[in-house]
């Protein structure tokens, strides 16, 4: 659905459901996944349908994924880190927030 205007600075690698993705330092996890063609970030707890980021500024919570073992992370607010393990979040992400 998306492409990068330039691809000469993709020096960071993260993993999405085990698959390595090259991205740019400074990308949010959401931008890195979208640029790599990911369309299902999570499925909803209620009906199990697929969701993709909607707002990109921390407002909608549709970008929730598991990052390095922690569920319910807003992918649009977390920057990529070399080696980060990102997983799509299926159903309730053990939502333990208050």
């Amino acid at each position: 659905m998306f492409r990068r205007l330039r691809a000469d600075d993709l020096t960071t690698t993260i993993y999405f459901d085990g698959r390595p993705l090259r991205c740019r330092p400074g990308d949010s996890i959401a931008a890195a996944l979208l640029a790599a063609g990911v369309e299902r970030f999570r499925t909803t707890p209620v009906s199990g349908t697929d969701r993709m980021p909607h707002c990109m500024i921390g407002n909608c919570f549709d970008c929730l994924v598991e990052i390095d073992g922690r569920a319910d992370q807003q992918a649009c607010l977390v920057p990529v880190r070399e080696g980060s393990q990102v997983r799509s979040q299926l159903g309730t992400g053990k939502f333990d927030a208050v």
């Binding site: 492409r3 949010s28 369309e39 909803t44 697929d50 909607h54 500024i57 920057p79």
Partner: protein, 485 residues
């Protein structure tokens, strides 16, 4: 970024867009010990997102984003050299009327006490519920722009933009320059900019430049043969992804194949924090949104807390800078760095700029107010994205007698999901107001609870019981709908 978090400061500013940057720079220059907290990794806010990195390299992106964007660099540079402390990647999940801030940074939470607080949390895109808007492939137009500014990522599948407001055309123009396959723009505003702009020119002489800019974006789209439709009742169609966008135009239903639908109906104040503080709010009928009540310095009904920028009411990036400076002058005066006379003297030019801008804003508000007549909200439209509650579900509950917004919230679960009502609050209120044939003011808004950002229990536990104070201090009477927020 510090390793041991600072636990107190004279002035805390939340938000690093034009308002927060201008406020922090001026306060620090006046000798106020200032910390600016922002959720983003770099300063700039929504409009000037990632401005430092994008200014360092001149490439296709600089040309796409244009000269207005480039102007943000000066603001960031002045902030960087002002001596204000900067805490990026820091979400504020709590503000109390006593001046305590809850900060969540890199997976850990801590509390900071500030003598005064300026909230410069900006705006968010107004949620634009249409049938199919939860499908992967439906985003905000601002969201697509954010992807472009922050990461140079642009659509490469057939894309349709639908909605109203200056940002709709700006984003369309920018995507066109980025050679994104834009297959149509659906303008849902009541009147075209051409019509209203030409009638407004004589009364807005200072703003011919702004008006012409808007018209030039439209002309560029026309030259590129990107169809611009006047339409209503937009919907996204598709099984598990967007496959087409439908709308009513010239009396018939039309269909445009698309993989991406970008929606935009203007922006509204991001007032989660003032709402959770139970500050007094006022309903802005022209902007169709709640905003915190403030005095002429931006101070809210919580005395230690001021708001500046779009969070105080949508007024745009230029006005945000002046509003930020007014709040900083007042803070510096109350903290004792400048006299009242100096504050008032320095405030004068800022106020002149604000007055001038207000006239243009009134024109924009009038031109782009969401068109109530055509915002039909079909029963199948999802109102609450988190709990997947439809407009029809809500109407049924209202018919059963759930007519108080907080009662409706408990029974429908709207507003109880992860986004805490950010995406559904205005829609639920609107359904109530329409069903009860009353106005938004009488309906009020959800009673928000702290934290304003979901916080993992583990992070909260680290804070220790002694310091957690999650209850907002109640301000104002609950009976008054304007204070029910």
């Amino acid at each position: 970024m510090t390793d041991t978090p600072r636990t107190d400061c004279e002035l805390a500013i939340v938000g690093g867009g034009p308002a927060g940057l201008a406020a922090a720079a001026l306060a620090a220059e006046l000798g106020v010990e200032t910390i600016l907290f922002d959720e983003q990794p770099t300063p700039g806010g929504q409009i000037y997102r990632n401005i430092e990195a994008n200014s360092r390299k001149l490439d296709a992106l600089s040309d796409i984003l244009g000269a207005d964007y480039a102007k943000g660099l000066a603001l960031v540079e002045r902030f960087r050299s002002s001596g204000a402390a900067y805490e990026p990647l820091s979400s504020i999940w709590q503000v109390t009327a006593a001046g305590k801030l809850g900060v969540s940074q890199k997976g850990r939470a801590y509390l900071t006490r500030a003598g005064r607080i300026i909230l410069a949390t900006g705006a968010v895109e107004r949620p634009f519920p249409v049938p199919g808007w939860t499908l992967p492939g439906v985003m905000g137009a601002g969201a697509a722009q954010t992807l472009m500014k922050a990461s140079g990522v642009v659509p490469d599948r057939p894309t349709v933009i639908a909605g109203s407001g200056p940002l709709t055309y700006l984003v369309a123009f920018q995507l066109m320059k980025a050679r994104a396959p834009l297959t149509g723009v659906i303008d849902t505003s009541r009147k075209g900019l051409l019509e209203t702009g030409l009638t407004a020119l004589p009364v807005l002489p200072g703003f011919a430049g702004d008006l012409l800019k808007g018209l030039s974006w439209m002309a560029a789209l026309r030259r590129a043969r990107i169809p611009v439709f006047s339409g209503r009742n937009v919907a996204a169609e598709g099984g598990s992804r967007v496959e087409a966008v439908t709308f009513e135009g010239r009396g018939k239903r039309r269909r445009l194949p698309a993989s991406l639908l970008l929606l935009h109906e203007g922006v509204v104040p991001n007032n989660q924090i003032t709402a959770s503080l139970r500050c007094r709010h006022v309903w802005d009928a022209a902007q169709m949104a709640w905003r915190p009540w403030t005095d002429e310095w931006g101070v809210t009904s919580a005395e230690l807390v001021a708001v500046a920028g779009d969070g105080a009411g949508i007024s745009g990036a230029r006005a945000a800078v002046h509003g930020g400076r007014l709040a900083a002058l007042d803070a510096a005066c109350r903290i004792g760095r400048i006299s009242r006379a100096e504050r008032d003297e320095r405030a004068r030019p800022e106020r002149q700029h604000l007055q001038r801008d207000a006239r243009f804003r009134a024109f924009l508000d009038n031109t782009y107010r969401p068109n109530e007549a055509v915002r039909r909200l079909a029963n199948e439209t999802i109102a609450c994205r988190c709990e997947e509650v439809t407009a029809g579900d809500l109407r049924a509950l209202v018919a059963e007698g759930f007519t108080d917004i907080n009662q409706l919230k408990s029974f429908s679960r709207c507003g109880m999901g992860q986004c805490q009502g950010r995406m559904c609050g205005a829609t639920v209120a609107r359904i109530l107001a329409l069903s009860l044939e009353t106005d938004m003011e009488s309906v009020g808004y959800y009673r928000l609870r702290l934290p304003v950002k979901p916080l993992p229990v583990a992070q909260l536990a680290e804070l220790g019981n002694a310091e957690r104070d999650l209850r907002p201090s109640p301000l104002g009477a609950d009976g008054d709908p304007s204070q029910r927020v």
